[in-house]
């Protein structure tokens, strides 16, 4: 059984005049230590699925199990605080906080002391390949690549093992994109994260252990190059 089990999940946006079924009967599973890519056309429901995995919304029907517990029964704020983090295309750092403050934030939320949080944050910032110079900088003074790396450090600060990302390389050039791809892959393979990335980036998809294709709300498994569909 995977760390995350998605069982027959559907989600509809209830509009005023129409109901949009963005996710339709999706069943899949995600393991620790693996790097997943979800690809698909714009509007196919990828972001919606990610928000369900992040516990930002509950499925209209079906259930997501995390470590055996039903998402609908979890305290989902706590789930995001302790277990799952999301990295976004537009980085979404706190604009008024420095890099260091951004990374310490989740730890201070958890009640850790400032000194301890800063020590861990510095370590995490170093691990995404940024130097001390970045510590006191606010997002406006950083490049996109730097911001996204700080965002990954912040996502790790909470200490959970689920890393979700929505187009994390979408605002970056190829060089920075590749750097982010490699870091996410390392997180899966060396630190045991379940890394689930929604992407248009073919390079990133190539690196993934498994690729899902989202099409009109439905999820299918894509065969990896050199593999057969039956392997999945």
């Amino acid at each position: 059984m995977g760390l995350i089990e998605v069982k027959d999940v559907s989600y509809s946006y209830q509009g005023k005049y129409q109901t949009i079924e963005a996710v339709k009967n999706v069943t899949c599973s995600f393991d620790e230590g693996a790097f997943y890519a979800i690809v698909g056309h714009s509007g196919s429901g990828k972001t919606t699925l990610l928000s369900l995995l992040a516990g930002l919304d509950l499925p209209t029907s079906g259930e997501i199990y995390v470590d055996g517990s039903a998402m609908s029964a979890l305290n989902r704020d706590r789930y995001r605080l302790k277990t799952a983090s999301v990295v976004y295309q537009s980085f979404n750092l706190f604009p008024l906080l420095t890099a260091l403050e951004n990374v310490t934030y989740p730890m201070q939320l958890q009640g850790r002391s400032k000194a301890e949080a800063e020590a861990v944050a510095k370590q995490l910032i170093a691990e995404v390949g940024l130097g001390e110079k970045i510590w006191r900088r606010r997002p406006l003074m950083m490049s996109g690549g730097e911001q996204q790396r700080v965002a990954i450090a912040r996502a790790r600060a909470a200490g959970g093992k689920i890393m979700l990302a929505d187009e994390p390389t979408g605002n970056l050039d190829a060089k920075n994109g590749n750097m982010i791809t490699n870091q996410l892959k390392l997180l899966a393979h060396e630190r045991g994260y379940a890394v689930i990335v929604v992407t248009h980036n073919e390079e990133l998809a190539k690196q993934a252990d498994a690729v899902y294709m989202m099409q009109d709300g439905q999820l299918t498994t894509l065969a990896k190059e050199g593999q057969h569909e039956s392997d999945a």
Binding site: L50, A54, L56, D77, Y79, R80, A158, N171
Partner: protein, 407 residues
């Protein structure tokens, strides 16, 4: 909470704006509530500033002395507790007993006035009286058998303070049609002269100036002793609670008093008219009351306005922090904690503004500590109600949508 001060500092201009709103609203509320308090105070003090005096007249209002006022009515008025400073007088006549025959009374007439206070007789004041040793002003409000005598009368009759005079006393009656004067003998009675007084006038219209003044209480007691009815000659008083003027008037009506009517018989001596000098009071109290009612009626609207300003101000100021709140939610901060920390920022700023506003208000108006506390509490609760409502609305957002919308 660890971000509180930092956030406030970094919001810079917006923090100042919220603070400034706090100042303005507090100032406004202070002036408003201060106005209500001042009006209420003024209304409560109005009876002292504008006492409502009243006196008994005949039915046409043409006479207020020389009346026949039933003693029972005086007792009833006393018993209502609705009047203060009840002053009343009585007239008696006398001659020196026993040598003077009854038929000569008409011209050897001694006029005696009974009063219950110096002020009951408008021509007399405390300085005009010289008292015997050991006797003081409160003699007149008592029941002692004694008189004070007009200086000239003392001189003309070779009398001195401390002497006893032996008088044949007559009560005055006015006959059935109240247009003839009768004297009815009470008895020959000895009275001690306990003082003298000087009158600055020798003539006062048709009013007969008294040769002697005695306590009206003694007259009442004596008449009762001799089984004769007591009629007061004049009576006046002050309405003790003019804010309940209507109750007072109703009570007086129930005793048989009527508002004066200039068309009525102006020769009548019967004391059934009631003149209440309440015009100024009623006019002032009326306008105060009207203002007070207006301001009280509008108070909930004012509070609603503060709630609304709190709502709109924080909604607008927080609008630019929508994505910040979304990030907080994404990082696992619960909605209630978001609201709490953001309202704490607002609360701190607006309290700061409130204090500055209060300081200004205190120097403009004379609000005390309790007033300031009330204003702070009322303002703070109202404003924060608006803030929390705005934050509730703001924090209930589709987090993913906010964070994935590319700016």
């Amino acid at each position: 909470m660890f971000n509180l001060m930092r956030n406030i500092r970094r919001q810079g201009f917006k923090s100042l704006l919220v603070c400034f709103i706090g100042i303005l609203l507090t100032l406004f509320l202070s002036l408003y509530l201060g106005n209500i308090a001042a009006s209420r105070k003024e209304l409560n003090h109005l009876p002292e500033v504008l006492p409502v005096a009243s006196h008994i007249t005949n039915i046409s209002g043409s006479k207020s002395v020389g009346l026949l006022i039933d003693g029972g009515l005086i007792e009833k008025i006393k018993a209502t507790n609705m009047v203060n400073n009840l002053r009343y007088t009585v007239q008696l006549s006398a001659n020196f007993a026993p040598e003077t025959p009854e038929e000569e009374l008409g011209y050897k007439y001694i006029a005696i006035m009974g009063v219950n206070d110096i002020s009951a007789f408008s021509l007399l004041s405390a300085e005009d009286i010289e008292w015997a040793d050991g006797v003081a002003e409160d003699f007149l409000s008592g029941r002692q058998a004694g008189v004070i005598v007009q200086e000239n009368f003392l001189e003309n009759n070779d009398l001195n303070i401390g002497d006893r005079v032996w008088l044949s006393l007559y009560s005055i009656d006015y006959g059935e049609k109240l247009n003839e004067i009768y004297y009815k003998k009470i008895d020959d009675i000895a009275l001690e002269i306990v003082g003298s007084y000087a009158l600055n006038v020798t003539q006062f219209g048709e009013f007969i100036l008294p040769d002697m003044i005695c306590p009206v209480g003694w007259v009442e007691e004596t008449l009762q002793e001799y089984d004769k009815k007591f009629y007061a000659d004049s009576a006046s008083f002050v309405v003790s609670d003019p804010l309940k003027l209507n109750d007072f008037k109703a009570a007086m009506r129930s005793f048989g008093f009527q508002p004066v009517n200039a068309q009525a018989d102006s020769y009548s001596l019967s004391g059934f008219g009631l003149l209440v000098n309440d015009e100024t009071f009623v006019r002032s109290a009326g306008s105060l009351q009207k203002n007070l009612t207006m301001m009280t009626v509008f108070l909930p609207l004012i509070l609603l306005l503060i709630v609304l300003v709190g709502y709109i101000a924080s909604y607008l100021v927080m609008q630019s922090r929508r994505s910040e709140v979304a990030v907080m939610r994404s990082l696992g901060v619960s909605q209630s904690r978001c609201i709490l920390s953001l309202s704490a920022e607002n609360a701190l700023l607006v309290l700061l503004g409130c204090l500055v506003g209060l300081a200004a208000a205190v120097s403009f108006t004379g609000i005390g500590l309790s007033g300031a506390l009330v204003i702070t509490a009322v303002f703070f609760v109202s404003y924060m109600l608006g803030v929390v409502a705005a934050l509730l609305k703001l924090s209930r957002m589709p987090v993913m949508e906010v964070l994935t919308k590319s700016e």
